[in-house]
């Protein structure tokens, strides 16, 4: 048959073959020409197209030549077809790009020198790359609009710079569903605005300047702050909650100037909440613990960090020798890295030998890996989502966007119920469901377990518990809890929980405390915390911020804040993600993992190595199979049977 020239039979593999600028490639059916070109390494300029939004094809920048089509077609809205021949390298495509940029610049104010977006502006960049180079518009007076319109205390709008790509309008339509931005007027007088000039109220406004391809929507907190090329960018994770949104920390002169989103489709889907995004200022605080200190009675003196560690080891050992190891308590924090918590747990249970270890105040009974089963991206696989109480979305606001996406794109039902709803009522509300996702936060986790039991009669149930604190999930996985050890293995001896530890210290029942801070959860104890640290015979504190703990610590060692150190943190769904050092530490002391290792060594531990964060990470993976499997960026999953 070869002689007749019959082409080899194509196997239907769900893909189509096309060529772009002569490059042959096969892409899944339904792929847009724009995405196929990206895959082929061919750049097509876009303004209105956005990877997370439906195509509208209004900017006409991505028009390409496709054989057999009478007119140029928008690559952002054309689905790749089998045998399609796409050309972006023809003179006519070059000409139309020049033409489109000429149109876009007609009424653009060209105020790049004072525009916050200068240096990272698509209009500027594409004009350099594809633009006509000269202006031939004979009219000097452009169409003018309002500049510096304050849409809220976070966002500023420059209507003249706007190129009407609609991304902000569509963001509110498609991503948040809040519909806060509208188009007004028509033709060349069209402008983006809010209805009746109302102020924006969304919790997700900070994404607007990022979806805007030009300098029309800008952060008020970044106004005239920096040029992008003066920023140092570090990939990290947002420290505001346990959802684990990926961010870029942009700093200049050793200060964080902004958080930018870093798309992780499995977690944040490139959106940040305003609480997280605009929390960057907190990390520039000059209120820091800067020197190791030794305090006796009311006297405090500076000491070297080595001496501090030696003193800490000696004093803890003295208490242990005199009153027993279980007169010492260890408090970790959900703000610490996995590596620190891994070492802290070992130090507590294996070196000091105390069962009293926790990272928060309140008890966490009946903990089960089942409550962390549902992944964030898996929310989209559920046909019904039951959310208990308002807390989950208050704790992790970006969750709201994922729920809306499930609703809008996958026709899921989102049912928001009271936190204390009865299982029967919840089952009634979820009637007809097949795959149920049940989301609660720590305050409702007990009721969530009961509700899950009832919902199981309706359909399959997977649960997600929103933990508190950046690394609240990691602290639990690593056994910084009184009732379970690493990997939710039941503790040999159940110790006191956070509140009990503080009460016992205040009463003198416990005498020594090793505390790794900062720990916002403990501050909720208020006066009890102060009484506890005052009464304790010895408080060894590793902390970053001055406060009750550092004021009363017997031995105080400065800690490194989250952007000053390397390590990993685990988010609500168990995803282990790296954080990296982007800022110099406020104090010239070793990082926490090294301090903890040295302390353990001084207390007689063996084989702990140097305490280098990477080495600790390896040791942690060796110790926890789930973390070994998760690697960097994967989910640490524990068998659902593990219950304390």
């Amino acid at each position: 048959m070869a002689e007749t020239g019959t082409p080899p039979e194509q196997v239907d593999d769900g893909r189509v073959g096309l060529s772009i600028d002569g490059r042959e490639l096969r892409v899944p059916k339904g792929t847009l020409v724009l995405d196929a070109a990206t895959e082929a390494g061919i750049h097509i300029p876009i303004y209105c197209a956005h990877p997370k939004m439906d195509p509208v094809a209004v900017c006409r920048m991505c028009l390409v030549n496709i054989e057999k089509f009478p007119k140029p077609q928008p690559a952002c809205a054309t689905v790749a077809g089998d045998g399609m021949v796409v050309r972006t390298d023809l003179p006519e495509v070059t000409k139309l790009r020049e033409g489109m940029l000429e149109f876009l610049l007609l009424n653009h104010p060209l105020d790049c020198p004072v525009c916050d977006r200068g240096g990272e502006c698509d209009l500027q960049d594409f004009t350099f790359r594809y633009g006509p180079g000269i202006s031939r518009f004979p009219i000097t007076e452009k169409v003018h609009f309002k500049k510096a319109v304050q849409l809220s205390d976070l966002i500023e709008l420059d209507q003249e710079r706007c190129i009407l790509c609609w991304r902000c309008v569509r963001y509110y339509d498609e991503i948040t569903g809040e519909k806060e931005i509208v188009l007004q007027q028509r033709g060349v007088d069209t402008l983006v605005s809010t209805f009746n000039d109302q102020q924006l109220t969304s919790k997700f406004q900070g994404n607007l300047p990022e979806v805007c391809p030009v300098g029309a929507l800008t952060h008020r907190k970044y106004r005239f702050v920096s040029r992008p090329w003066d920023l140092q960018r570090t990939a990290s994770v947002c420290p505001e909650c346990s959802y684990g949104c990926n961010i870029n920390v942009d700093s200049r002169d050793f200060e964080v100037r902004r958080f930018a989103s870093r798309d992780n489709p499995l977690v944040d889907d490139m959106w940040l909440c305003d609480r997280g995004r605009y929390s960057f200022d907190r990390w520039n605080s000059s209120e820091r613990v800067r020197r190791p200190m030794l305090r006796s009675d009311d006297e405090a003196r500076d000491i070297s960090v080595n001496e501090a560690i030696t003193q800490a080891a000696r004093r803890l050992k003295e208490i242990s020798d005199e009153y027993g190891a279980d007169s010492i308590a260890v408090l970790g924090s959900s703000a610490s890295t996995n590596e620190e918590l891994f070492l802290l747990e070992r130090l507590a249970r294996q070196v000091i030998g105390t069962p009293h270890i926790d990272h928060q105040l309140d008890p966490f009974d009946g903990i089960s890996a089942a409550e962390h089963e549902l992944g964030i991206a898996e929310i989209e696989e559920c046909d019904t989502l039951v959310v208990l109480g308002t807390e989950p979305e208050e704790q992790a606001p970006v969750l709201t966007l994922r729920l809306y996406k499930a609703e809008r794109k996958h026709n899921a039902r989102v049912i928001r119920l009271n936190g204390d709803v009865s299982g029967t009522d919840a089952a009634e509300a979820a009637k007809g469901a097949i795959r149920i996702g049940l989301i609660a936060d720590e305050t409702n986790r007990e009721n969530a377990a009961a509700v899950a039991g009832k919902l199981a009669s309706v359909g399959s149930v997977r649960r997600l518990t929103i933990t508190r604190g950046m690394n609240g999930r990691g602290a639990k996985d690593l056994g910084v809890l009184p009732n379970v050890g690493p990997a939710y293995a039941p503790a040999a001896k159940v110790g006191k929980n956070g509140r009990q530890i503080l009460e016992a210290l205040a009463k003198g029942e416990l005498r020594g405390l090793l505390i790794l801070g900062p720990n916002p959860a403990l501050e909720a104890a208020g006066d009890l915390l102060e009484r506890a640290v005052k009464a304790a015979a010895c408080v060894v504190a590793i902390d970053t911020r001055p406060g009750v703990v550092s004021r009363h610590a017997t031995v105080l060692i400065p800690g490194h804040a989250v952007f000053e150190k390397a390590g990993s943190v685990t988010n609500v769904e168990g995803r282990v993600q790296r954080i990296r050092a982007g800022l110099p530490p406020a104090s010239a002391t070793p990082t926490e993992t090294r301090v903890l290792t040295t302390l353990a060594n001084e207390m007689g531990a063996e084989g702990w190595g140097s305490g280098d964060p990477l080495a600790v990470n390896r040791a942690m993976r060796d110790a926890l199979a789930a973390y070994a499997a998760a690697g960097n960026g994967g989910r640490a999953l524990f068998s659902a049977a593990a219950v304390s």
């Binding site: 209004v58 920048m61 140029p72 489109m100 009219i139 009407l164 033709g187 060349v188």
Partner: protein
């Protein structure tokens, strides 16, 4: 050939606007016949057989448009496009004004053929009186049992809703009409999906012009074959032409398709006024390309006019005499498009603005030759690049006028005033 009154046969009869008056002329017999003699399938086949093409501008075969609806997807919707806003067009207003029930009857016949239970008449915002008239007619027809449940005992239900637009030209584009009908900003939608598959409220939708629907009662009563015998092979039937400009008797004239344009001009419109000669004419409406006196013997046939480089469009016929400055006309038209651009896509929004600014400079005699050259280039950057036909058509008249009257355009460059007007003023003085 020549004038042929099919839709306008009884126009001028007393009380034609009322239900009684319309019934007196045999009104609603078409609907009865449709129920009696046709199933929805055979009715679509009959309309297909009539070869009628859409009267709204694009001239797409109506029967074929209907057959694109996916089977078994309900509800479906039918929208009558009465958003007549093309410069130079006023036939739909005439048809509604004179015989609103003819449209309602046509709409109901189409609804029956398409098995639509809710039909809309989207009428231009400026047609206020016509909207009130239609609303009254719909109420009367409802009271008489032509609209509602079990119409005339046929078992077919249909409701008709008259919806007034807010006065945007773009809402005559079918997807923009649908957006506007849904209560959204009047802007065209991305195609595909096409309205036949996903239109109004995400359901299969047909949008038909007023005149197209008005033809249906006649096709039903007299048969597709008879209808086909009118007009030419490719353009069957009659059309109502809106003659305007420098002629003695401007107005609406229903002509059999295939009649030479000269006949329309000289016999119906009484020729050019003031004994002046024809300089140019524009068929179709403001969007279409200009034609020259040498084209006056072309037949009123969609294909023939298309081959000459223009289109019969929505049935306008604007005649211009020798005193007309084509730069001036272009400027006016471009201003219209600048005003009516919805602003959705870049080339139309900014291009019409650029064009109009340049045309104003040119008409005032201020533009340079380089600017004139850039005008052509800008038009080429718009045509075929825009989201919907509005932006494309915004260049057609200008480009055709520039091609046919190049010297006149060039004479404007640097002249400091409009040279044509200067000449005319001198002539009159």
């Amino acid at each position: 050939m020549g004038e042929y009154k099919l839709l306008t046969k009884d126009f001028g009869a007393t009380d034609l606007q009322t239900l009684k008056g319309y019934e007196k002329t045999g009104g609603y017999q078409g609907l009865r016949d449709a129920f009696k003699n046709f199933t929805p399938e055979t009715l679509i086949a009959e309309v297909k057989a009539s070869n009628i093409r859409g009267r709204g501008g694009a001239g797409f075969p109506t029967g074929m448009k209907w057959s694109f609806l996916p089977k078994d997807v309900f509800p479906r919707y039918l929208c009558c496009n009465a958003d007549e806003s093309e410069p130079g067009c006023f036939k739909d207003r005439y048809l509604i004004d004179q015989s609103p029930h003819q449209l309602v009857e046509g709409l109901l016949i189409a609804s029956y053929a398409l098995q639509v239970n809710t039909s809309f008449i989207y009428i231009r915002g400026e047609y206020h009186d016509q909207r009130l008239l239609l609303e009254r007619s719909v109420e009367d027809a409802r009271a008489a049992g032509y609209i509602g449940k079990n119409i005339l005992g046929s078992g077919f239900d249909c409701d008709v809703i008259v919806h007034g637009g807010a006065g945007a030209y773009i809402c005559g584009e079918e997807t923009a009409l649908i957006e506007s009908l849904e209560g959204l900003r009047g802007q065209p939608r991305l195609k595909p999906p096409f309205p036949a598959v996903k239109g109004l409220y995400g359901q299969p939708t047909v949008v038909n012009n007023v005149e197209t629907l008005c033809n249906l009662p006649h096709i039903v009563q007299r048969g597709g074959e008879w209808f086909k015998s009118l007009g030419t092979e490719k353009s069957a039937g009659t059309r109502v032409f809106c003659a305007s400009g420098h002629i003695n008797r401007p107005g609406n004239y229903e002509m059999q398709l295939g009649t030479p344009i000269r006949e329309l001009l000289e016999e119906e419109c009484g020729g050019m006024w003031k004994g002046r000669s024809l300089k140019a004419f524009q068929p179709g409406g403001g969007s279409m390309q200009v034609l020259l006196p040498q084209h006056i013997d072309l037949p009123l046939d969609m294909n023939a006019v298309q081959e000459a480089g223009s289109s019969l469009g929505a049935g306008a016929m604007i005649f211009m005499d020798e005193t007309t400055c084509l730069v001036d006309v272009s400027m006016r038209l471009v201003d219209f498009y600048r005003h009516e651009s919805c602003g959705k896509c870049v080339p139309c929004r900014e291009g019409t603005y650029f064009e109009s600014e340049l045309m104003h400079r040119l008409e005032a005699g201020l533009a340079t030759r380089a600017e004139l050259a850039s005008l052509a280039d800008i038009c080429s950057n718009m045509d075929g690049r825009c989201f919907c036909p509005l932006g494309d058509t915004a260049t057609w008249f200008v480009m055709s006028a520039y091609k046919s009257f190049r010297e006149e355009f060039e004479a404007h460059c640097g002249a400091g005033r409009c040279p044509v007007r200067a000449q005319v003023t001198a002539l009159v003085a």
